[in-house]
């Protein structure tokens, strides 16, 4: 789950005691002018949950209220990374001496949090990692000990940070704690600015919430940016189904993430084009009816592969669901089945008797037939 900058700053950084510039969220040019009148020179920033806003024309500097209004007029309603900008953050312009980078992420290799710091802030971390990998310093955190400001010594040593070093160490410790407390997948301050007056201020905030922790972070979930989903993907999400719409013509209904991905692969391998990813794994295997409806509602679908291999999921339950939906929807596209594993004997019998279709013995053959039918 992603968040707009102002949400991360107000809900996470400020309560954690990390300084942020004074700012106001505005939805009209007039409001932006008013805000600038109260603040002075400002930066007007598009609020969308995406990076590279500056390069997309989403960030402008304004000295006067009129300039703020004009910047807001230009940015509001524009489209950045597929999002229409509905809000701008009008924020006090900082007197920056130096920009650094700070983040906490989850490291797969060490299965631990990783605190990241670079003395070269302001550019995207991916670009920095490619161009100057040596400038990024890392500290793997032992969660049983935590990460205190004293643990930053190695990260910050020899970077010429001077008097700001202690303040940055404090920010890193606070950032780690908020990453833990708020179930972050990633929290990043880029840039973290060292001001001429000696203060250390977060000029941006990127926060990604671990979806699996949504139930215990209700306040954050309520403030999250809406997902970019197609209408069908949204309908899937309402039913707790992970549906990804693709631009092919062979629809897929399979159980389990691994088998579903594999069905897509085999379709592509034999020259076909998959129309969707749709997993009915885990407990979702009882939702075959809704799932079939979703797959068939995708306008590009010309044929369907139903690939079930029961381990946890029972193929007889899934097949019965598909048949019920089939009898209601009466689709015109042909379906090609491959059914194995738990409950397969019963499932094959059901499909044969109720739909008059003979399931294929090999998954490959079901896929080949579906590709042929979609041509």
């Amino acid at each position: 789950m992603n968040f707009e900058e102002h949400v991360g700053k107000a809900l996470l950084l400020a309560p954690a005691g990390i300084a942020i510039p004074r700012g106001v969220v505005c939805t009209t040019p007039d409001a932006a002018a008013d805000a600038a009148r109260g603040i002075g020179p400002v930066v007007v920033k598009a609020q969308v949950p995406a990076g590279k806003r500056g390069k997309s024309g989403g960030i402008a500097i304004a000295v006067t209220p009129e300039q703020a209004a004009s910047a807001a007029r230009k940015i509001l309603g524009s489209s950045i990374a597929g999002y229409v900008v509905e809000r701008v953050l009008v924020e006090a312009r900082a007197e920056i001496d130096r920009e650094v980078y700070a983040a906490v992420v989850t490291d797969v290799e060490s299965r631990s949090p990783l605190v990241l710091f670079s003395a070269e802030g302001g550019v995207e971390i991916e670009e920095l990692a490619a161009a100057k990998p040596d400038t990024i310093r890392r500290a793997v955190v032992d969660v049983t000990r935590g990460f205190r400001s004293a643990d930053s010594v190695d990260l910050l040593r020899g970077q010429g940070l001077g008097a700001a070093e202690a303040a940055i160490a404090e920010v890193l410790a606070k950032l780690y704690q908020l990453y833990r407390d708020h179930d972050a997948e990633l929290v990043e301050i880029n840039p973290l600015a060292l001001l001429r007056d000696g203060r250390v201020v977060a000029l941006d905030c990127k926060f990604v919430l671990d979806d699996a922790a949504a139930l215990r972070q209700p306040a954050l979930v309520a403030a999250a940016a809406p997902l970019k989903l197609t209408a069908l993907e949204g309908r899937g999400a309402e039913h707790g189904l992970k549906f990804i719409q693709l631009d092919g013509n062979v629809g897929i209904l399979a159980n389990g993430a691994g088998l579903t991905m594999t069905t897509m692969d085999v379709i592509a391998q034999f020259g076909g084009r998959p129309a969707n990813f749709l997993e009915i794994g885990g407990d979702a295997y009882t939702k075959a009816e809704v799932a079939l409806d979703l797959v068939l509602s995708n306008p590009g679908v010309k044929s369907l592969v139903v690939n079930f291999c029961g381990a946890f999921a029972r193929t007889d339950v899934m097949a019965a669901g598909v048949i019920r939906a089939w009898e209601v929807l009466r689709p015109s596209v042909p379906a090609f089945f491959s059914i194995h594993g738990t409950g397969a004997d019963e499932a094959v019998k059901l499909v044969r008797e109720r739909l008059g279709v003979e399931p294929y013995d090999l998954m490959e053959d079901a896929v080949l037939a579906a590709i042929e039918a979609a041509r």
Binding site: V143, A254, N255, G258, D265, F277, A311, F312, M363
Partner: protein, 294 residues
Amino acid sequence: MIYRSGHSVLVQGITGKQGSFWTQNMQACGTNVVGGVNPKRAGERILGVPIYGSAVDAAWDGAIDISVIFIPPLQARAAVIDAIDARIRTIVVLTEHIPTRDIVDIHARARASQSRIIGPNTAGIVTPGEGFVGIMPGGNAEVFQPGSVGVISRSGSLGTLICLDLSRAGLGQSAFIGIGGDPLIGTTTRDALIALDRDPRTRAVALIGEIGGSMEEDAADYARGMTKPVVAFIAGRAAPPDKKMGHAGAIVSGGRGGYDSKRAALEAAGVRVTDTPNELARALAGLLAPSGVA
């Protein structure tokens, strides 16, 4: 991480719908279930075994080799830590969607102990003819046959399909090790490969990988020095980048975790990588037939 006849198994969450259903399946398959855990029903019995208040209580009553976790995501952390505190050596975590913070805590605790975590989000482990632990069709003779191919899979459904193919090709399995579809798993592809390499009953390995992370690359590094043949299939070649494909671990982001890198690493290590899962069993049959090791 290979189940052996007689290994004692504790089921945490035995009284739940899935816990009791799969306990029956495991028992029918010969798995030695010695007890279950549910703090609210401690002292009762279910399916012929005692219910304990905790894994620690169960361990006082007799040695437990493996604990299997049928506990919902937000309670799983406490259950696994209970099993670690009980000094259980192997903990099979079936639960999907455990928050990452809890998983990090689990691994940190496990590192400081003798416990090995398999999963989270695994379908379990199977040794055909001996038993299984988890949510696999371990007793389905069409899928699982005793034999000498060791199978490693992140996915339960795809792993089942490959075992079925192997059995049909006359290649039984020495062990199935489901390592789990989450990004932060306790037992990696490489760990499982090492275990199968050391297992005298395993003569060849079917490695079923998935896009995301770098576990296949790490496993390739080990496979280079193996004499047992390894054949691999990697799922997710056609997956669009930056989308999570169901398994939280299966995401290609910023060019990392991609199909091509995994395939290249495995092939450079002498591992045959097949284009479809059905082809894997055929390739393995071809490799094993001349020497007749299967």
